[in-house]
């Protein structure tokens, strides 16, 4: 029995499951139950829930790129919003553990050569004390390679969709990724702009394909 990372309850796990090697969860059934996994038909590229499987209008309009697509795990519902806000803005690093199993499984399935975190600008990193993307990778027991950096920029979150889409490239190549497939792991996929900018910088570093895994899929 452990205490849930979000409330006073204990995390419950049938003992026979533990016996068969199941790992006990870091949330209680109640808190876990509020998170909604994405199921049903999706956009093949960005994991947007759709009426029937295919490619969504957004992804159509992006055009050719080395970016091979995104896999999101959960809907960005209100429980996920407050969980990620506590994790990222309040700085509760421990919450990365909630997604450790998910991230490990998805990373394995993606079959990429290296994993890369989405960097923060230097001032943002100082403010937050840690990078949420690195936290998700580390908590899953995986290692990330520093292939790109990020310049100082204005606050992303405050910008409108249009402003974000036209925002300039803030990422730049750092390391060598010659001919490699790269997996990017982050907390939220909204318009896909961030991860596509990341992919561009990774292309400059020599990467041949880029995929992403994100915890939540926001946007409609």
């Amino acid at each position: 029995m452990k205490q849930c990372l979000l409330c006073e309850n204990n995390t419950e796990m049938e003992t026979w499951l533990l016996f068969f090697g199941a790992k006990s969860s870091s949330l209680c059934p109640n808190c876990l139950g509020k998170l909604e996994k994405i199921t049903g038909p999706l956009c093949r590229i960005c994991s947007r829930p759709m009426k029937e499987e295919g490619i969504c209008s957004d992804c159509h309009s992006w055009g050719e790129s080395i970016y091979a697509g995104n896999r999101s795990l959960y809907l960005y519902n209100s429980a996920m919003q407050s969980l990620l806000a506590r994790f990222k803005y309040r700085g509760d690093y421990a919450l990365a553990a909630v997604f450790a199993d998910d991230v490990r499984r998805e990373a394995k399935e993606a079959e990429c050569d290296v994993i890369c975190a989405v960097p923060l600008s230097p001032s943002r990193l100082l403010e937050r004390r840690f990078n949420q993307s690195e936290a998700l990778i580390e908590s899953a027991g995986l290692t990330h390679t520093r292939l790109i950096g990020r310049y100082e920029s204005d606050k992303q979150a405050k910008k409108s969709r249009a402003e974000r889409l036209s925002a300039e490239q803030t990422f730049y190549p750092l390391g060598q990724a010659e001919g490699k497939s790269v997996l990017v792991i982050d907390d939220i996929y909204t318009t896909g702009t961030t991860v596509r900018r990341v992919a561009e910088a990774l292309k400059e570093a020599g990467a041949c394909t880029v995929k992403s895994v994100t915890i939540a899929r926001s946007g409609s």
Binding site: R90, G91, D92, Y93, A94, R129, F130
Partner: protein, 441 residues
Amino acid sequence: MTKVSFLTGRELIDEEMIYVPDEHTSTRPAIYLDNGRLRCNRCNNTKNFSSHRCARCGKVCTYCRNCIEMGKISSCTTLYRWNGPAPKHPDHAGTLHWTGTLSEGQRAASVNVKQAIIHSSEHLVWAVTGAGKTEVLFQGIAAALSDGKRVCIAAPRSDVVRELAPRLAAAFPDTPPIALYGGSPDRSSYSPLVVTTTHQLYRFYQAFDVMIVDEVDAFPYTFDPSLQFAVQKARKESSSLIYLTATPNTEWQSEVKSGKRDATLIPARYHRHPLPVPATRWCGNWKKTILPVSVQLWVKEKLNEGSRLLLFYPHIETMDKALPLFKEIDPRIESVHAADPLRKEKVELMRRGKIPALLSTTILERGVTFQGIDVAVIGAEDAVFAESALVQIAGRAGRSAECPTGEVVFFHYGKTEAMRKAIRQINEMNKLGVERGLIDE
């Protein structure tokens, strides 16, 4: 806002410390090793920590998960406090502008509270629901403010803070209180008089000469040792401590009865009518029937009489199932629970008499006054209905002088000790009220 008014009495983390430290500033680390055990200086947590490589200090840095909602505290965080001279009280601080009169029961409590404040001692006011406990504080606060003392009233929830602040501002217009809660506009102001949620006291250090804790038995204060620590940290070493409650826990009740705890009991309401005594009625397995026949008949009868009803269910799940059945009786019937986004609006509609009946979880057990209502608990034997919860719930009925009576029914599937104790407590209070001449019969 000036530097002095911002800093006086507060203890702040790096992000909050917007002034350059001066000769009056002292610092301490936010997290320290206390005999080999990590301890948070802001909330006293020793159990709930986590750590990560920190971009600020470059080390693996530990942070406190317990008080993280107040702004993250890490091993590399410094706490700042400022020990310069505090702002002077305004002229006429402590002049009381309240013109009401105290009931006989209130008067005794008022005298004792004032004595405790003058002598920096501890005192409990045990006042039944509807006794009028706020007015009991006025004389004591006036004495403290005239004496140049700083006064704090800590309440469990922000709605209580927002309700108390204007009443205090009217009574003490020369020192209007600042109201502190998450997101409050007064966050960085100063007043000798402060009304605050207990949570905000994390940000104070030995600031107050008078500490008044309202609803001391309420959640979360009673269940959270770190909030109790925050209250102690925010008071000066020599200060008075006043507790207010309508429902002290069993331990405090017996301490009062044996004279071990300094206390004043106000056993009767301001309007001199007895407290409504709950009736108990067996209603079968309500978890199955959801709206038992006995409840249905009672509700219909009361609504036909023109009464308005407050109905308590122990859990959201059963309440949600019950609501459509109640709407068949009257479609205007609504329900509220803690996370209901329309909670305020629904409570307001009920207050204005626009809703014939409101279903609620224990969230409305305290702090709300609806005029002329009857009250029922469905599933009164459930564990969420402790003695204090049932006394508070019964206390929602008959509060106003215009409608001083009301019916209270505990519908149950097996009587509990908590139900018996609650009814015994209410009967005892009524008996005491009559004996002391505080109730007209």
